[in-house]
């Protein structure tokens, strides 16, 4: 038995996506850049997929660039805005403290080039306010980049309102929508989004394929040189099978977005309620304004990696923001950004549901997590200090 609750890391491919890919590995294998008919059939498929994907997010097909995934899209969006800003003498970028590293590390690189970066506070509930963006904007601001929904704690940002602030001031607005696409409604027009990143494997599509949406008129800077694919903005033969799988997966996800969200939200809230009963535990991120499938807790007195290993023994696949699981000395920057102290952040657990998650799985998970936390606490010297009163609980 395996209960997969790590859908924020990646998802299982849907049958629809797999079936949509197969012909493009088998019979329709031409290169869309080729003049002959085999190539032209592939080119037509590419055009079709681009239109369908554009339709899912309210864009037009010319605004869609295929990339290798979320990280590449984030890199290219930010670099494009930076190069554009640079030419106009604008070298200030606004973002938030809890962005994905694909954004933060790109910003760090630009900082070394002389850009100034403002990272906005995301508060204890994990939500940035449009007002903060408005106040941070300067004459030399060239880009605001704020994620649609956080990958660790699932909190949903006021994208439309932030977009409106940027639109009013004439500043480019990019959003990393990797966790949101296929799970939350996206309309780039209505939500004032200039650039957007998404990745197929987060909504039951294949890995290694994603999209960078850039509003008409925004010149993209190529980060891979070579051929003239993607209007010269992204060289390399298009991954047609993956693109077809992504188009099918996104269409399917968007067609069922409301019913999936409703089902997952109900289970998510059950899971939150169940885990809240564990003493000295705390939910990370706003309880309501979060992704339908995201649950993230901190448990005082234990460490996340040992929690994950023991849950894995019980068949539950989960994730943690502890340092030991990140391979660095510091725990998750997201948990630190919402004000969790190091000791507490090490004891974090992220469970991310899919629409296939069942009620039985949630019940079993609540029971298993409760048992494992209790067991690990029984051998923790910190827990002993806490219950004996030698140390004060951080989580009441």
């Amino acid at each position: 038995m395996q209960i997969y609750l790590d859908n924020a890391a990646t998802t299982k491919m849907s049958k629809t996506a797999i079936e949509a890919m197969l012909p493009y590995m088998d019979t329709v294998y031409g290169n869309p850049s080729s003049l002959h008919s085999a190539g032209q059939v592939a080119a037509e498929a590419l055009t079709d997929a681009r239109q369908r994907i554009a339709a899912c997010i309210g864009a037009s097909s010319k605004e869609i660039t295929f990339t290798s995934g979320g990280s590449e899209s984030d890199n290219q969006a930010i670099l494009s805005a930076a190069r554009l800003g640079e030419r106009r003498g604008k070298k200030h970028i606004i973002s938030t403290a809890f962005e994905h590293h694909a954004v933060l590390h790109t910003l760090k690189m630009l900082e070394k080039e002389g850009f100034e970066i403002t990272l906005l506070d995301v508060h204890e509930n994990g939500i940035v306010l449009p007002q903060q963006v408005a106040e941070a904007i300067r004459d030399d601001t060239c880009l605001v980049t704020v994620m649609y929904a956080n990958n660790e704690i699932g909190t949903i940002q006021p994208i439309k309102e932030i977009g409106a602030v940027c639109r009013e001031k004439g500043i480019l607005f990019h959003t990393d929508a990797v966790q949101a696409a296929g799970h939350l409604h996206i309309d780039v027009q209505e939500q004032n989004i200039d650039m957007l990143s998404l990745s197929a494997h987060k909504f039951h599509g294949p890995k290694g394929i994603g999209v960078l949406y850039a509003r008409k008129g925004i010149p993209l800077t190529g980060i891979i040189e070579g051929g003239a694919q993607e209007r010269g903005k992204r060289a390399g033969t298009e991954n047609i099978p993956a693109i077809m799988g992504m188009a099918a997966a996104l269409e399917e996800a968007c067609a069922h977005i409301d019913e999936n969200a409703e089902k997952m939200t109900a289970l998510r809230d059950k899971l939150i309620k169940g885990l809240s009963k564990i003493p000295h535990s705390i939910l990370n991120g706003d309880a309501q304004r979060r992704l339908p499938g995201n649950v993230n807790f901190c448990f005082e007195g234990i460490e996340g990696e040992s929690l994950l290993l023991l849950l894995d023994d019980k068949g539950i696949c989960a994730s943690s923001g502890s340092a030991c699981t990140s391979g660095s000395l510091d725990p998750s920057h997201v948990l630190l950004a919402i004000g969790r102290v190091h000791d507490i952040a090490h004891g974090s657990l992220r469970l991310s549901l899919s629409e296939e998650t069942s009620e039985e799985e949630i019940k079993y998970t609540i029971q298993s997590v409760t048992e494992v936390v209790e067991y690990l606490r029984s051998m923790s010297p910190i827990w002993r200090d806490l219950v004996s009163g030698r140390k004060e609980f951080v989580i009441k």
Binding site: G301, I302, E303, G304, E305, S306, L309, L310, D312, D313, S322, A323, C324, T325, G327, L329, P331, V341, H342, D343, H346, S378, M379, S380, P381, I382, W383, R384
Partner: protein
């Protein structure tokens, strides 16, 4: 999981010597909650021999396995021999640890040394202070609390 050897997983899943020794002859605590691992070792020493060893650990799988293995390695041994336990011996006994987890074995060695130092202090036995380096071999951020 392929991250750890079978031996590590065995000692993690079924840790030996978990617990507390009341009125222990030596207690050593190392690590820091801020860094994500704390080990506490309790020793019962009779006639210069480690009659019993117990541990409590807050930390990752390899921290728990290292504590378990280290206590196993010193139980029944003379104090003089326990003092020579190295983190390398713990790693070898566990059939290896991933490179970024070696510090867990270092913590285990240090926790035992600290418990033995505490034993010398409590029993009023004169000892060579240079045998107890203060955490310098540890590449991890193991500042001591309190």
């Amino acid at each position: 999981m392929a991250l750890y050897s079978e031996k590590v997983m065995d000692h993690f899943r079924n840790p030996r010597n978990v617990g507390v020794i009341e009125n222990a002859d030596g207690v050593g605590e190392v690590g820091n909650a801020k860094c994500g691992d704390i080990m506490k070792i309790y020793l019962k020493i009779e006639n210069g021999v480690i009659a019993d060893a117990k541990f409590e650990t807050f930390g990752c799988g390899s921290a728990i396995a290292s504590s378990s293995m280290a206590t196993e390695l010193i139980k029944g041994k003379p104090v003089s021999e326990a003092l020579t336990l190295t983190n390398k011996a713990v790693v070898e006994a566990l059939d290896g640890l991933p490179a970024h987890k070696i510090h867990c074995s270092v913590l285990a060695e240090e926790a035992i040394k600290k418990a033995l130092q505490d034993y010398y202090e409590k029993a009023g036995i004169a000892y060579d202070h240079t045998q107890f380096p203060d955490c310098e071999s540890c590449g991890h951020c193991c500042g001591h609390e309190g």
